[in-house]
């Protein structure tokens, strides 16, 4: 993947001019590219005058940051307490089996990412899965199958596995 160095530098520069912190610069980059390229950490550390070790510490401490690129389709299974008692572990299990990924992993072809989130605050609808930003509520293994199949079909991956 081509890393848009100039663009990234502009983001960091903008934050630096605003007097913003390392965290806000990294947040911007994460939002834009859905991960923090290695180059971004180096640039941020140089421009904002913080040691690279500190930039790395911040990038690995907060859940919002990822050092690896995310897949084209991102599934987030809510594992908040309300979803948990309503059966989200079974849903997560099922999706893990179907995608062949563990929570937190991205497929080799960068097609799918599977993540867990701690409570989205839509507990009335639990268990919840967010697919590319779209919420689906009251999920179970069967309904998550339907959801996956829809995406497989859209991608021409017409396999029930």
């Amino acid at each position: 993947m081509q890393i848009p160095i100039v663009e990234i530098y502009e983001i960091i520069n903008k934050e630096a001019r605003k007097g913003g912190s390392l965290i806000s610069a990294l947040e911007e980059i994460q939002t834009r590219y859905r991960y923090l390229p290695r180059e971004a950490l180096i640039l941020a550390s140089e421009r904002l005058d913080v040691p690279l070790s500190q930039a790395y510490a911040v990038a690995t401490f907060y859940n919002a940051f990822s050092l690896k690129p995310k897949g084209k389709h991102c599934f987030q299974v809510c594992v908040g307490t309300a979803c948990h008692v309503r059966g989200s572990p079974q849903v997560l299990d099922h999706i893990e089996t179907k995608l062949g990924l563990k929570a937190g992993e991205t497929s080799h072809d960068h097609m799918f990412s599977l993540e867990t989130v701690n409570c989205l605050g839509a507990c009335a609808l639990g268990p919840i899965i967010v697919t590319n930003g779209e919420y689906s509520g009251q999920m179970n293994a069967k309904k998550s199958d339907t959801l996956l199949r829809r995406i497989f079909r859209a991608e021409g991956l017409d396999k029930n596995e």
Binding site: N63, A82, A124
Partner: protein
């Protein structure tokens, strides 16, 4: 909207606004909270606007449509309330909108969308008498269903910023602190420290630079009341912060808010810019000598940042690790300056106390715990939602009168209060009044108000393991007891759930749990063992069943259960066989199927698909 230069001007504007905001005006309010949005409330709102403006309806239907903040009754969303009658429609879909509009025009009611009380089968038209609302006392959430959160003029018309004018016109900072102290308000973030005293400590610190912070890093899974306040009534939080900052002598404030709450962030940013335009934030607020500004800081997803010293480190741009206290933030907080941190609910309570008086506020609640508390009732409960009640109400009232009881005729097992820092309360203590003191004596905490209901199908050992996994993952790793201790407890719990428990595991969990509580650096570690210790206190028999009998009584723990076909019920329909992800089911059409326990990964899909009750768990 223009700059307001004095309290007199603001009051005059309010008087003007009230004329056009007659409370009995016809109004359709659509809940626009995150919960209802997930159900599609935005489309419903747009449909109302479209239907009303495009259908050339008669003038008699001069209804305004408004998208408000969270109404709280998330279970029934999207919620629509027709005012002033207060007719409440539940689960409203885009297709229902023309029918509702026609009904309004004809003075009728769409009966099929009204709320039906599941206990009495009674159809209830009016929002106020729906049991979920009837038994609440909505003080902080009172305007959530009325206000357009994007409009400061609506907040002002409904009495907003009147507490601020009162403070700036007639109260010294000391008087404000005395009033808050007299109200008995205690910090709503969980610890329950008296708010007035906290302000005084910060005010009395030497130094010209002081900060106030609103802790909106609501990380407790299952709790979302702070988000709903910020989404639905952001100006009340700001007004509370301005008053508090005035009392403390701070001129800069921060709202530290979860990045996972995009709507709340949007509404707060909008509210801040409106307040700035109106002269309610910035220099010389309402023509006074007082200056105050507020900035938003986005959290990046670390539970520990709800702890005040970690939160401060995060605002400073560092890794969000806590540090030992003392010094407390009131002495040395943000960038080494005296800093006062309060929770969203605490800040939002302040204008109400100033407006209505400390006597009024302290008349709500119990002897030692004043005011109201907002609980998010979630989990295995009929009426998921936000309930604001006077402190001291019993859990029974909260779960059965407001929450509507447990779905699917299941039995209540436990209420988990206070999230990962809290504990479980079993059925025998349901009549205990909920206040800071009695909850602590039961091994739970008030916390931020997350209330997760577990029914008979919940395994308490697995539940404890769940919370321990959460805190273990969120432990920042700075201090040893929390970093190593939570890991040790989690590994033990995982072993127990996998059927590999040993006879001394329970004693080990208690010993390590006590050690973590005593020796951890911050609140996260000091409370992390609570979910385990409280389930051990009340549900020790379940632990023993796992360890000694190698069974999971609730049939949840995968290592201890087996799926099997009930031969007499199985018609051989092939549905489970075709869908089993691990290929563990064999058989042929119209022949009894068989599950191979070696291949079965206990996902339970077969059971959820079987229409013949032909799958059982043992």
């Amino acid at each position: 909207m223009s700059n307001i230069n004095s309290s007199v001007e603001l009051n005059a504007w309010r008087a003007e606004l009230i004329k056009s905001y007659a409370p009995d005006r016809p109004l359709i309010t659509v809940c626009g909270g995150t919960g209802c949005r997930v159900y599609g409330s935005e489309k419903v709102f747009n449909a109302f606007q479209e239907v009303i403006s495009n259908q050339g309806l008669s003038v008699s239907l001069a209804y305004n449509v408004k998208e408000t903040g969270c109404h709280g009754f998330c279970e029934k969303g999207p919620l629509v309330v027709i005012r002033p009658q207060g007719t409440m429609y539940t689960h409203v879909k885009v297709g229902d909108v023309p029918e509702i509009v026609t009904a309004i025009a004809e003075g009728k009611i769409v009966e099929r969308l009204l709320y039906i009380d599941p206990q009495t089968d009674e159809v209830i038209q009016n929002e106020d008498i729906v049991p979920f609302y009837k038994n609440q006392q909505r003080v902080i959430l009172d305007l959530n269903g009325l206000l357009d959160p994007l409009r400061i003029d609506e907040y002002i018309a409904l009495g907003g910023y009147s507490a601020l004018t009162k403070v700036l016109q007639s109260m010294s900072p000391e008087q404000v602190i005395t009033e808050i102290k007299a109200s008995g308000l205690r910090g709503r973030g969980g610890a329950g420290f008296p708010t007035g005293l906290k302000w005084e400590l910060c005010r009395n610190q030497p130094g010209d630079i002081k900060y106030v912070i609103c802790n909106a890093d609501e990380g407790d899974p299952g709790a979302y009341m702070d988000r709903s306040i910020m989404e639905g009534n952001p100006h009340r939080v700001l007004e509370g912060m301005i008053i508090g900052a005035y009392a403390i002598g701070a001129h800069q404030g921060y709202v530290y808010i979860r990045n996972e709450y995009p709507l709340a962030v949007k509404h707060l940013i909008h509210a801040i810019s409106q307040a700035e335009e109106c002269g309610l934030l910035g220099e010389n607020i309402l023509g006074s000598e007082y200056d105050f500004r507020v900035q938003i800081k986005l959290g990046s997803g670390a539970f520990v940042c709800g702890e005040e010293t970690a939160l401060i480190a995060s605002i400073e741009g560092h890794v969000g690790e806590p540090r030992p206290r003392p010094p407390y933030p009131s002495e040395s907080g943000l960038w080494g300056n005296p800093t006062n941190i309060n929770n969203v609910k605490s800040w939002a309570s302040v204008p109400i106390i100033i407006d209505k008086g400390s006597d009024w506020y302290s008349s709500i609640g119990t002897e030692t715990s004043k005011g109201t508390m907002i609980f998010s009732i979630v989990g295995n409960i009929n009426n998921t939602g936000l309930a604001e009640v006077p402190i001291g109400i019993s859990l029974h009232e909260l779960i059965y009168d407001i929450g509507g009881g447990i779905p699917n005729n299941k039995a209540f097992k436990a209420a988990q209060i206070g999230g990962p820092s809290g504990g479980c309360i079993p059925a025998e203590h349901l009549d205990v009044p909920i206040d800071y003191k009695s909850l602590t004596s039961l091994g739970a905490i008030m916390g931020s108000g997350g209330l997760v209901i577990a029914d008979e199908d919940t395994c308490m050992v697995d539940f404890a393991r769940y919370f321990m996994k959460f805190t273990q993952e969120e432990s920042c790793g700075k201090c040893v007891p929390c970093r190593i201790g939570t890991k040790a407890m989690l590994e033990t719990l995982e072993r127990i759930c996998a059927g590999e428990g040993q006879s001394d595991d329970v004693e080990y969990l208690i010993e390590v749990g006590q050690a973590i509580k005593l020796s951890s650096l911050c609140g996260l570690g000091q409370t992390a063992p609570n979910p385990v210790l409280s389930t051990l206190q009340y549900f020790r028999d379940e632990y023993e069943a796992h360890i000694l009998e190698k069974t999971c009584p609730a049939k949840v723990c995968k290592g201890l259960i087996t799926y099997a076909i009930v031969a007499e019920n199985c018609p051989g329909c092939m549905v489970c066989l075709r869908n089993c992800p691990s290929g563990a089911i064999t058989g042929a059409k119209q022949e009894v199927h068989v599950i191979d326990p070696e291949l079965c990964n206990r996902c339970g899909l077969c059971m959820s698909l079987c229409k013949f009750d032909a799958i059982m768990v043992t």
